[in-house]
């Protein structure tokens, strides 16, 4: 018996990295998962791997910054699984997507806009798409992925950090708005996490180690326990909170 039995959870950016680790953890605990990713092929491959292992999974191509696509995502989830219990707003322009790292005045405007469109408007649109159904069922669990960079103001990433700060503000407001309908909204702020990537070596992820209480590289699996907790009934009286899961860099 798992802690997420009978729950249906959408994970945006679920094809790989942290999102995939969440999906695998949720399936282990009995959930059915929808891997919604801009890379639809990879989402379907990951979903197929989960199904091969005996789990329930659906892979979908979704650009979270496109309203019509987020609505289709929810419609397809309902058509396949009949309900949506949880949403993890994990899709983002982050370590696995190329972006400029430079002082504010060197950040291209179109890149700033795209960062906010995916990382913040994407959270807004996906939440908007699942809320009518969650409100109707009187229950729902939403996790928004923020970032430890919001707390320490990591330099040369103003577009990214601003988007992740927006996510925390969004979490707090939606928690209050949707609480009376039985919907819980929380945020997880990971540290620099060694998601699989072609561009980055493991050594690059070691730079944050000296700041941590627990001195090792963070890997996607380190976040899974917190994800399961926030998706399960165990956290039903928690809402509007941001949990830093980073080995103790930020103390929040």
């Amino acid at each position: 018996m798992g802690r997420l039995d009978d729950r249906v959870i959408i994970v945006t950016g679920g094809a790989a990295g942290i999102g995939r680790a969440f999906a695998d953890g949720f399936v282990r605990e009995g959930a059915s998962v929808v891997l919604a990713d801009i890379n639809g092929e990879q989402a379907e491959r990951s979903a197929e791997e989960i199904r091969q292992a005996g789990g329930q999974a659906l892979g979908l191509t979704v650009d979270v910054s496109d309203q019509a696509q987020t609505e289709t995502m929810v419609a397809e989830t309902l058509s396949r699984f009949g309900k949506v219990t949880g949403l993890v707003n994990n899709a983002a322009i982050a370590i696995r997507v190329r972006h400029t790292r430079a002082p504010l005045e060197e950040i291209p405007l179109d890149e700033f806009d795209r960062m906010l469109a995916v990382n913040l408007k994407g959270v807004f649109l996906c939440s908007r798409a699942v809320l009518p159904h969650m409100k109707e069922q009187g229950y729902g669990k939403i996790i928004n992925m923020s970032s430890g960079t919001f707390f320490n103001g990591r330099e040369n990433l103003v577009h990214y950090v601003a988007s992740k700060g927006g996510v925390i503000a969004f979490t707090r407001v939606l928690a209050r708005e949707a609480g009376p309908s039985g919907i819980r909204v929380n945020s997880i702020a990971p540290g620099l996490t060694a998601s699989e990537t072609e561009e980055h070596s493991l050594e690059e992820f070691a730079v944050r180690i000296p700041n941590r209480a627990i001195k090792r590289i963070e890997v996607p699996e380190d976040l899974v326990g917190a994800g399961i907790f926030f998706m399960s009934a165990e956290s039903d009286f928690i809402s509007g909170q941001t949990l830093a899961v980073d080995g103790g860099v930020v103390v929040h």
Binding site: A175, A213, I214, D222, E234, A244, V251
Partner: protein
């Protein structure tokens, strides 16, 4: 199979209220529970209830503000089970008549000292008592119970200051013991209907502030306790988790 199989967990103030809810749930999840409470008979009663339900628990009468008593507590646990995986610093004074609900001028220096002795010195001493063993083993989980009032400022100064100190202790200790794979986190409950003498109508005052509009009960905190005592939270340390139905937002 439970989330806490084989773990030995000390819950101070574990006989009643929130501590009791932690103790019962930990036992259900497979942990061996130590009810360390200043009220020995109440501790025995809770331990017996856990035993009747098929769990494992012992009562160790403990005054957390007393150095020798906390050392004896750790020693008794090690003699009984040979290990300590977790400590929940839950014992605290927070109800009348121990706590005056009043302004700074209405709180006596003696009351201030008594509150700090239990609520701050208590967690300090209990951590001190278990840390040598946890360090030697290279693993441990500590949870300090703070309070939502630290965020809202809505209570009297002696209590809120003591609960702020708990958050400070959590942060510093987490950095000190991370190298030993010991995590130190804090839970900040909202106003919780934990006093068996007062029914839930006495706890309605905070409901309008919450996202989830109902009275908070001790059982609402158990899930967070299990999470922070389990390996699911092994890369999370130094954090304070508010469990209050979404009143204070951190």
């Amino acid at each position: 199979m439970g989330k806490l199989d084989e773990r030995v967990i000390i819950v101070t103030g574990g006989a009643q209220g929130i501590g009791r809810a932690f103790s019962m749930r930990f036992a259900e999840e497979g942990a061996r529970v130590v009810i360390a409470d200043i009220n020995g008979p109440a501790a025995e009663k809770t331990a017996a209830e856990i035993g009747e339900a098929g769990g494992e628990a012992i009562a160790v009468p403990t005054d957390v503000s007393d150095h020798e008593s906390t050392e004896a507590m750790a020693q008794a646990v090690l003699e009984k089970w040979g290990r300590i995986d977790g400590l929940v610093n839950n014992a605290a004074v927070f109800q009348r008549p121990q706590i005056t609900r009043g302004t700074v001028e209405e709180i006596t220096a003696e009351e201030w000292d008594r509150v700090m002795a239990v609520n701050v010195r208590g967690p300090f001493l209990c951590c001190r008592a278990v840390l040598p063993h946890m360090k030697a083993r290279g693993y441990g989980k500590i949870v300090n119970i703070s309070s939502g009032t630290f965020f809202s400022g809505r209570s009297s100064t002696q209590y809120v200051a003591s609960k702020g100190a708990v958050v400070g202790m959590t942060r510093t200790l987490s950095r000190e013991v991370g190298d030993f794979n010991i995590t130190v986190n804090s839970i900040a409950p909202g106003s919780t209907a934990s006093d068996p003498e007062r029914d839930e109508s006495n706890y309605q005052g905070r409901v309008p502030d919450r996202s989830i509009k109902r009275v908070e009960r001790p059982e609402d905190l158990a899930g967070a306790g299990v999470f922070l005592m389990s390996s699911d939270s092994d890369f999370m340390t130094g954090q304070t988790m508010i469990v209050d139905g979404g009143a204070a937002l951190n």
